[in-house]
């Protein structure tokens, strides 16, 4: 038997979303490293995609992206589109990675962050918000992906989603039966 959402899981997700939203508004504008900035909405979408089912990941990613779009000086709809698609792919691709921090989940998250940041940079260039492909990809996209991936580590450690709350044994060898009690 598997499980469905519990109030505890929903609370954890709500808490994660609130923390990420607050940090996105309060902290992200204050920190710039080599032209890159932390995208806490990408962290929220990625962590949820690694820990929850695809449907919940897509929904969370869309609203996270929309929040990012509405609080930054970027075209509205772009990040929500990228995060929705990215979270969907990540949720399906990371079946064996599981929630929590592990080398495999970190790899998946880093690829997700890099892909979203680079595609976002290219899209912004196409939309006229960014003039240089080099700056879009390397100065902003790559550095943003790297620092976002680093900052995501504590979030991945702390949030384990619905799986951890019900899991009585770890998955091994790529088993996807992580929700069985």
């Amino acid at each position: 038997m598997a499980y469905m959402d519990t109030p505890q899981t929903s609370r954890s997700l709500a808490m994660l979303a609130i923390v990420c939203c607050v940090l996105q508004v309060a902290l992200a504008p204050q920190i710039s490293v080599f032209g890159g900035r932390i995208n806490f909405m990408l962290i929220l979408a990625g962590v949820v995609a690694l820990s929850e089912d695809a449907q919940k990941a897509v929904i969370t990613a869309f609203f996270a992206g929309l929040f990012y779009d509405l609080t930054a000086a970027v075209p509205v709809g772009l990040m929500s589109l990228l995060l929705s698609v990215g979270a969907f792919v990540l949720a399906h691709a990371s079946g064996s990675a599981g929630s929590g921090l592990s080398p495999l989940s970190m790899q998946f998250f880093s690829v997700f962050a890099l892909a979203v940041s680079l595609i976002n940079g290219v899209a912004l260039m196409i939309l006229g918000s960014e003039g240089s492909i080099v700056a879009a990809l390397f100065s902003h996209g790559l550095t943003s992906a790297i620092i976002t991936s680093i900052v995501a580590i504590p979030f991945m450690m702390l949030y384990r989603g619905s799986e951890a709350t019900h899991r009585s044994f770890s998955s091994r060898g790529g088993s996807r039966f992580k929700g069985i009690r």
Binding site: Q30, G35, A73, V85, S162, R176
Partner: protein, 334 residues
């Protein structure tokens, strides 16, 4: 909600829903949002929603800015630690020179502070303006913007120029109820009609992807030198003429080039918690006249340095009040 809801007959929760349905729906919504956002211009429902979100989140933004302010000094300290020997030598020389001037300027500073308190920043430039404070920077890596603590409630509107005591910092691009987003002149989407103060050579000051400034369309028959002050020309109709934009740091050109490559160091920086002036309207003297536009079109390369200096001197004596910045800039240059 039944307490045993979490148990179901399905084996794998991650496989319960593929998320394909929501993905398609959200992709369509996102594309529609993007399309409407691009098509609606500067005002429209999506911009209104963004303004609302900005208003709601502004207290958190203010809080973040207030918390981060002490750490800015830490960042400066780190920058100083990693400075090159050449930079340090230059700073030492500057320090020696500045120390000698401290005593002289202390008296003037005390006097200036009193005057500033009386007149306010706006009278310095004879501008119709509203004071505001920078409360945050851009939350994305792809744009160079800052948020100020004044919005539509305070009479802010898109396209209003923003400057501080050193010069122009940018232009309002989005307005919320109590905050506004200012695009800095260093943003690559920013372009300001500018001219070389000493020769009146006309150009366009363009932000670059790396955050630097480049003065474009300066023809190679113009007289431009390192150290020249770049000011707004007022031709665009947005910025008042004569406001300082920066200083020329390098002038280069390859053979057969029509235009110089002129790099400019910005006069003003947009630090967190700094006070700025939003110019709410321009007076007739601050807008480029038809004669100015015609002169710029006829001679975009400007005139000779000496002739312009004489012109400035004569205009200063005839119109001290309206051209305060020009006279200051010329004086410094000489």
């Amino acid at each position: 909600m039944p307490k045993n809801k979490r148990y179901s007959s399905s084996l794998n929760n991650r496989k319960q829903s593929t998320g394909g349905g929501p993905l398609i729906v959200f992709c369509i919504i996102s594309v529609l949002l993007l399309t409407f956002y691009i098509r609606e211009g500067e005002t429209g429902p999506i911009h209104a929603v963004r303004s609302g979100v900005t208003t709601i989140t502004s207290p958190i933004r203010f809080l973040g800015g207030a918390i981060a302010t002490p750490f800015d000094a830490l960042g400066n300290a780190f920058t100083n630690l990693t400075a090159s020997q050449e930079t340090l030598d230059e700073l030492k020389a500057q320090n020696a020179e500045l120390t000698a001037r401290v005593a002289e300027l202390s008296e003037a500073d005390a006097s200036a502070k009193r005057l500033e308190e009386l007149l306010g920043l706006r009278s310095t430039y004879n501008l119709q303006s509203t004071a505001a404070r920078i409360v945050g920077a851009s939350s994305d890596a792809w744009s160079q913007t800052v948020t100020i603590d004044k919005g539509s409630v305070d009479g802010m509107e898109p396209n209003m120029p923003v400057c501080n005591s050193a010069g122009v910092i940018g232009q309002i691009i989005e307005v919320g109820a109590n905050t506004s987003t200012v695009r800095l002149i260093t943003d690559e989407n920013s372009g300001v009609s500018a001219m070389v103060q000493a020769t009146r050579a006309q150009g366009m000051l363009q932000g670059q992807p790396d955050g630097t400034l480049r003065l474009e369309y300066i023809t190679t028959d113009s007289d431009v030198q390192e150290g020249d002050i770049i000011v707004t020309s007022g031709i665009g109709g947005v910025y008042p003429k004569g406001l300082p934009l920066g200083t020329v740091t390098s002038v280069t050109s390859a053979s057969n080039d029509i235009y110089y490559t002129v790099m400019v160091s910005a006069a003003a920086s947009a630090e967190n918690n700094e006070e700025v002036l939003v110019i709410t309207s321009l007076t007739d003297e601050q807008v480029a006249s038809d004669d100015d536009v015609a002169a710029a079109n006829d001679a975009p390369q400007g005139g000779s340095r000496d002739a312009q200096t004489q012109d400035d001197a004569s205009s200063d004596t005839s119109d001290d009040d309206s051209d305060t910045q020009d006279s200051d800039g010329t004086g410094e240059e000489e």
